[in-house]
């Protein structure tokens, strides 16, 4: 439906290629596209306006017009400006000079405060702090119970003198909590508060009451990364109300582009400290501005992808596999296992979508048939162990049996075997040090991704292995006139080759 920014820009830039200078109208067209892309990514309108003004100024300057490739330079500028708003480095939590450090969480209903409190407590505990959680959300039914359960899970005590569900005074609880923490020598106090609307004055007053009672070192504003245009109003209300010293973005594991991050950072002027990226209590990490910039621009998030792969793929398994490939021992059984591992990472479409420039193949992505993989699985599962390990024993009658067993046709079985053999060859070359080439990757993306790629040198190998699982998609890809290699490598996460 919505084209993304890289799509739009590549289209715009197509016309600019070879031009030594950008005309004013070129720039206008480009800026219009950028504006739209940012709005579609839920960046707030007023922020977009300021942003576009800043880009225009720079785009008209020498920096761009004299650049060798003005088009790419524009993207570079956009990326830089985005990163500027989001912050250039990851900030650290402010700890009090004399403990306990008090952290207060505030935000809208459903933004993920209570879950975040649990994650933060765990994170602090892992850093040898002694945190205590304070249940000051006495509003939402069983928020207190939820915090207690979380506390138990992460092994952090919870201060909850009041039962909640409308009973008790949160300001009072907060006061007592600080006294308790001092007495029992906890190093960090995390105060969970009720969700509140920015316009709810009574509730905002209550938040201010809690703040004054605990005088926090950090007031963390917890923001749902799916927030829309309202992010500006909400951020203003919290900034002017309870005050904000830091921002936490939640639900970043979703597919929202997270434009809210930009709006909130711009309005509050507070650094984004953390991002929360999953339902597990470990899914919590420092915020990386550069990655967020790429995400908003839909330049793909290669580093995240690599990390996701890293989580899913077992390091040792991968090494074994790498050896197998190098020694030509890679079998259909391994192929099957790889495919299953890759599946664990989630929906193929989404995985592919994380890669830079994947926007270009949106149509192919849309058409990509996940059930193709299931069919491939079925075929392999219908083979005997011998057949899986030595595909060359597959004669006509065996193939017929397999086709019947898997509910496919002999033709499909043939295709799979052929593709497998081809792929095995390709992988072998790659595993012997051949890097897949990187055509047409633009400098900005490279800036974002090369580092990650390097850090993940090992991972890249894994990725190649993963690419085997691209095979089943081949037919689908071919049907769409898409080259198999491009697709499989994409999937493998090395991201390269997808451009052309």
């Amino acid at each position: 439906m919505f084209g993304n920014l890289s799509d739009r820009l590549s289209d715009t830039f197509k016309n600019l290629r070879g031009k030594g200078r950008l005309s004013d109208s070129d720039i206008d067209a480009t800026l219009r596209d950028i504006r739209r892309a940012l709005l579609e990514a839920d960046v707030a309108l007023e922020v977009v306006k300021d942003f576009i003004a800043a880009i225009r100024e720079r785009a008209l300057g020498d920096e761009v017009s004299k650049a060798l490739n003005p088009a790419q330079q524009v993207v570079q500028v956009v990326n830089e400006e985005l990163t500027k708003i989001l912050g250039t480095e990851n900030h650290k939590l402010q700890f009090a000079k004399s403990p306990p450090t008090v952290i207060m969480l505030a935000g809208l209903q459903g933004s993920g405060k209570t879950t975040l409190a649990g994650k933060l407590a765990k994170w602090l505990k892992d850093q040898n702090q002694t945190p205590i959680l304070v249940a000051a959300d006495l509003q939402r039914p069983n928020a207190v119970t939820q915090l207690q359960v979380l506390g138990e899970k992460v092994g952090v005590p919870v201060f909850s003198p009041e039962p909640g569900n409308g009973v008790g005074d949160p300001v009072d609880v907060a006061k007592k909590a600080i006294a308790h923490a001092k007495k029992s020598q906890f190093s960090v106090v995390i105060v969970d508060t009720a969700g509140r609307l920015g316009v709810d004055e009574e509730m905002m007053q209550q938040a201010i009451g809690i703040r004054d009672a605990v005088s926090p070192d950090e007031v963390l504003f917890v923001v749902d990364s799916m927030l829309g245009q309202d992010a500006v109003n909400v951020a203003k209300a919290f900034k002017d109300g309870v005050g904000v010293t830091g921002v936490v973005l939640t639900k970043l594991d979703g597919d929202s582009r997270g434009g809210a991050a930009l709006s909130v950072a711009n309005v509050t002027g507070a650094p984004i400290l953390f991002s929360s990226t999953g339902e597990g209590l470990d899914a919590f990490e420092p915020f990386y501005p550069d990655r967020m910039a790429s995400r908003i621009l839909d330049m793909g998030d290669v580093i995240s992808l690599i990390e996701q792969a890293q989580r899913t793929f077992d390091q040792e398994e991968s090494q074994k596999l790498a050896d197998k490939i190098a020694n030509e021992e890679f079998t259909l059984q391994d192929f099957l296992e790889q495919m299953q591992q890759l599946r664990k990472m989630g929906n193929m479409k989404n995985l592919l979508g994380m890669l830079p420039g994947a926007g270009k193949m949106k149509q192919q992505l849309e058409d990509f048939d996940e059930s193709e993989i299931s069919r491939t699985e079925a075929i392999i599962r219908s083979m005997t162990p011998v057949e899986r390990n030595m595909p060359r024993v597959l004669n006509g009658s065996r193939r017929l049996r397999i086709a019947k067993g898997s509910g496919t046709s002999v033709n499909e079985v043939n295709q799979l075997v052929n593709r497998f053999e081809q792929a095995a060859k390709v992988m072998k070359t790659m595993s012997k040090g051949g890097m897949p080439n990187i055509p047409g990757t633009n400098p900005v993306q490279m800036g974002g991704s090369v580092g990650g790629g390097y850090i993940g040198g090992k991972k890249k190998d894994k990725k190649k292995k993963g690419s085997k699982s691209g095979n089943p998609a081949k037919r689908a890809a071919e049907n769409q006139g898409l080259s198999f290699n491009a697709q499989s490598e994409t999937k493998s996460g090395s991201a390269f080759g997808i451009q052309n």
Binding site: Q146, L150, D224
Partner: protein, 380 residues
């Protein structure tokens, strides 16, 4: 307002038929839960006319808006003989409205040139904002409307016209009891609160409600729903332990609803982001578990009005996997306008059915394009 068919309950205890085992578990709250199945030709019980009603106005209208009843007749006839058709009654739900929940788009006078930006700010999305603005401009020009009041009225009419559709009622009128509602959505959208409010609303309308706590994942989600069940006097089916199979809970919920001759079963599910394949697949499993015993009347997707354009991606994914039949917009009482609902209805052809406009149990209503549009163009 909308009319629904529910079980007719008389206050006097009637003996249940021999085919039906006597109920063991009585709900803790409602003392006089008298089941009154009538053994009769299955074709007839749907005639609302023969029903002695507390609300007299139902007779004439009830038959009309619901074309289903006669289509349904052959089915029970062929079904097992032991099936006893409940006597049905057409009812409305107690009146609820958006009230003053919706905030106006305009802080000052209406200027057509600002409209696009204003709509973008209300999360209508760039494309929709452009489209509505152009439309309004051309209509205004044709009609020579230029004053603030005229433009507001035009915009209101335009929105009402585009937002109105005839499937925005809840599918609780085919008489196949118990109705089953599955509530799905991303984390923090307000599913459990929505269920609490809906349960209370139905209870106020004298429906027998069973709630199923199939969010077995989030800490204390079951307790949260339990609190709502208590507040609304609904029965609750809980998982045996944390992390239990949500499909099993869903199955048991329907089972209890059938046993207890409840009118409706509402199943809460764990929040899930739409790009988590495994979790999304789980919804399919829950669906299948429910469908073993009853058909699913509604799959309600709960969307947080403060969410921006991502709501579209949510709706698409959930529609595909969970076969969503309607959308609930929550948190419309904030500064967020939920403009994305316009695009949701247009692009995905999914009706907005309910809206949440506050934290109180009664802050909940059917979506009314009229009220919504009026709120948006209101003068402060």
């Amino acid at each position: 307002m909308f009319k629904f068919l529910k079980r007719l309950r008389s206050s006097k205890q009637e003996s249940t038929s021999q085919a039906e085992p006597e109920l063991v578990a009585e709900p803790p709250v409602v003392a006089e839960q008298a089941a009154s199945p009538v053994i009769e030709s299955p074709v007839k019980p749907l005639e609302p006319a023969k029903v002695p009603l507390p609300e007299p106005e139902v007779h004439a209208e009830a038959a009309e808006p619901e074309p289903e009843p006669e289509a349904k007749a052959p089915e029970p006839a062929s079904a097992a003989a032991s099936e006893v058709e409940p006597e049905l009654v057409a009812v409305e739900l107690p009146k609820r409205s958006l009230g003053t929940g919706i905030r106006s788009l305009f802080s000052e006078n209406f200027d057509v040139d600002d409209l696009e930006d204003i709509l973008i700010l209300a999360d209508f999305g760039v494309e929709t904002a452009e489209e509505i603005t152009n439309q309004l401009k051309s209509v205004a020009q044709k009609q020579g409307a230029s004053s603030d009041a005229e433009l507001r009225l035009l915009l209101k009419d335009l929105l009402v016209e585009r937002l109105s559709r005839n499937d925005s009622s809840l599918n609780l009128d085919d008489g196949k009891l118990p109705y089953v509602i599955l509530v799905v959505g991303v984390n923090g959208a307000g599913k459990t609160t929505t269920i609490g409010k809906l349960a209370r609303w139905l209870k106020d309308g004298d429906w027998e409600v069973v709630l199923g706590a199939a969010d077995t994942f989030r800490a204390a989600a079951v307790e949260q729903l339990a609190t709502w069940a208590e507040r609304s006097g609904a029965r609750l089916v809980k998982p045996a332990k944390e992390g239990a199979d949500p499909a099993a809970v869903a199955y048991q919920t329907v089972e209890l609803a059938i046993q207890a001759e409840a009118d409706i079963a509402i199943i809460d599910t764990a929040g899930r982001l739409q790009n988590k394949k495994d979790l999304m697949d789980e919804l399919g499993k829950i669906r299948r578990a429910v469908e073993k015993q009853a058909k699913i009347s509604e799959v309600l997707l709960v969307i947080d009005a403060t969410n921006g354009q991502n709501a579209m991606s949510q709706a698409k994914a959930f529609a595909e996997v969970a076969e969503v039949t309607g959308i609930v917009m929550t948190k419309l009482d904030g500064t967020a306008k939920g403009g994305i609902l316009y695009a949701l209805q247009k692009e995905l052809d999914l009706p907005i059915k309910l809206v949440g406009v506050g934290e109180q149990v009664n802050d909940f209503a059917f979506f009314s394009p009229e009220e919504f549009a009026k709120g948006l163009v209101a003068r402060k």
